[in-house]
Subunit: 217 residues, 4 copies
DNA sequence: CATGAATGAGTTTTCATTCAT
DNA sequence: AATGAATGAAAACTCATTCAT
């Protein structure tokens, strides 16, 4: 019988695991998925459900007990990672916000770089390669969290900006920060050390934060 | 010569179209691929060879006469687009290079934005979603061309920079420019008009170009 | 361990069937293949995986669970048959070896004929038509087993032969015996009864076994 | 439209080539086919019509002008080769028949070996691998010719044999001779020189020719 | 006659998903 | 709950053959 047509495709996890055993089953699956994605990207031949289950030491049957769909695994993975990162960053931000810009910005950059390195592949590859993510998890939590933090920071340092202008600056800053970090990790350019990378990125950021509001004609 | 011996996967076009008829077949295929990718991304269910052939009004047989592999189609597409964009940009650059920075930079940004809009999906989606591209098309021509242009421009405007520093600036500038343009097109944020987008981006760029060489400790 | 890395074409069975259910699936597939080959030879149109699966009353999916490749099916078939035949012949040989030549040789011929009749098509057609077999199954067990038995028998009956001469005689005998049997089964000539066939073949064989070592000039 | 159903499949050459140009086209095709078969066997991927046409320096269109079917090419090839071999053998036979057995038999074997070596692959591989041949070319001319010659020779040297017995001996002799030659060429066993091979084969043959008619019980 | 672009039925193979045990 | 055998729709790709030019 033709599948996938008889019901709305569910993208989210099927049942909340309660017992310890299934707890670890879910984790094993996610971990296996993470590893496979890291090693090979998302091509469905290298991260097939069978492979994931195998690596997790779990039968496919069990896998489908907890995830209704292959995609669900990756979405869960993504959300988890994303949430973790957001939480970590929040902690960092709180600790730092009252310091002067030239201390706090590099500090934040450092943490962001480390964080992305740690979760490198899941986050970087996934967003790019799994289009469904954009739709499924509307608030891409981490990016949004960054966006909000930036708005707040910019608001503090350059008061009197309109909402539009605030959003605009946050838009650019987020893209500059995350974009440069992504590419830096991906390309690992020989000419640039972590140190210079963070210095330069911080300089750019600080300058843009401090740029006076435009006088519109 | 011994035929049929295990030939490794070919990524490039199988035979060059000679007659006008086949010329147009190839074009139809590429166009169909372009459209499907634009509409649906790369998931092999939405851009299967069958679908491409169908949309191109061509039999699968014909498709495989010219492209040995599904991937080959996309690579061809990518290379073509990439080359076109590079050529266009070169022309623009030449026309502009002797103008003062505050004229030429926004001008270049304007052109880049237009160019990316035009070729939006092929370029944007492809690089992210087709991992093989990185390997198959050694010099991702467009990005490289941008990189080189930036180095030249920076060299002119901030003479006396070391090679390393030149490369570093080009690295940041390329990422900032292309990254912001990509995201701007993708997200189409309501708060930002094309005009402000270009102004802001230009401001950031100009500032970074002019930043004095760092005094290292 | 890195999965998904280009694994070279496997010719051997994919997973060993554990449960009784899969046992019978594998058997059904092999049986279906055997029948189709018998009826039609190996042309991939008459023994396509689809056809085999269909006849086996099994889905193609299942087929590919156990055989990674169409070829793998035939190789498995061949090995199985070959091994069975070798085992049977060994038993026969043991029982017979101490009898006088003029008893044992016809006896062996009789068994060989029967054996080939039983496994007729798999063995006969396959070796000729599937070139990969030669490479895949290093010792074509049955033929080798015959070869060895012949060497032993000849050694017993005509002692004092050099190794070379032993090999030479075994070469001729094996070809004569197996060749004549094959053709007899294939052509089923009206003029020749099983009885006369075996008599004549035995006579030829016995004579050759007993031929004195050559005096080389 | 589905082909192959609207008319009886024709296996023989489509039109008799008259002009010199097409003469050479046909030859080129046959030659190309011969080479490809020699190099790679019959797997339709290594001897596809396209490949044959290509190697022959001829368009597929032209190929199909002269051969209605892929098979037709091979059948033509086979018949040609077979006829040539038969002709050659006939000449040899005539020259030799009045000599004493112990001269003529080795002589014939020598010629047969040479002949098979020359046409090695076409003949050997083809018979085994192309089942259609058996049906299409009813009188496999060469084998038949050998068969007949043997009957004549045996009739001369052992007069008074019944027709059945004649046929029987010819059956065995043909298989022994051709079988051993085929295998000798295919396996090229190190232990056996051409000389010993021919000596032994001749001995076997002569002995069998001379074996007295059986006294039936 | 020659050409080679086009065709498409038919192969092999994959992989997400189900379901009997 | 867990298992893993079974499923089959769908994908990639091939190759003999036709036919417009």
């Amino acid at each position: 019988m033709p599948l996938g047509s008889q019901q709305q495709r569910q993208f989210h996890a099927r049942k909340a695991p309660r017992q310890t055993r299934s707890r670890s089953t879910v984790d094993a699956i996610k971990q296996a998925a993470r590893e496979l994605v890291s090693a090979e990207g998302f091509s469905s031949s290298s991260t097939s459900t069978t492979l994931i289950a195998e690596r997790a030491g779990v039968s496919i049957g069990s896998l489908y007990q907890y995830f209704p769909t292959r995609e669900a695994i990756f979405i869960a993975l993504f959300e988890e990672t994303s949430a973790q990162m957001a939480a970590t960053m929040k902690r960092v931000m709180v600790r730092i916000l009252d310091q002067p810009l030239d201390k706090s910005v590099p500090e934040v950059m450092r943490h962001l770089l480390a964080l992305h390195r740690e979760h490198e592949l899941v986050l970087l590859r996934m967003v790019a390669q799994v289009p469904q993510l954009k739709l499924a998890t509307q608030p891409i939590s981490f990016e949004n969290m960054i966006f909000d933090s930036i708005r707040i920071a910019v608001g503090q340092w350059t008061p009197g900006l309109s909402l539009r202008e605030l959003n605009r600056r946050a838009f650019f800053l987020r893209e500059i920060i995350l974009g440069c970090i992504h590419r830096y990790i991906n390309e690992a350019p020989e000419d640039i050390s972590d140190r210079t990378f963070i210095d330069d990125l911080s300089a750019i950021v600080m300058h843009y934060i401090g740029m006076p509001a435009k006088r519109r004609r």
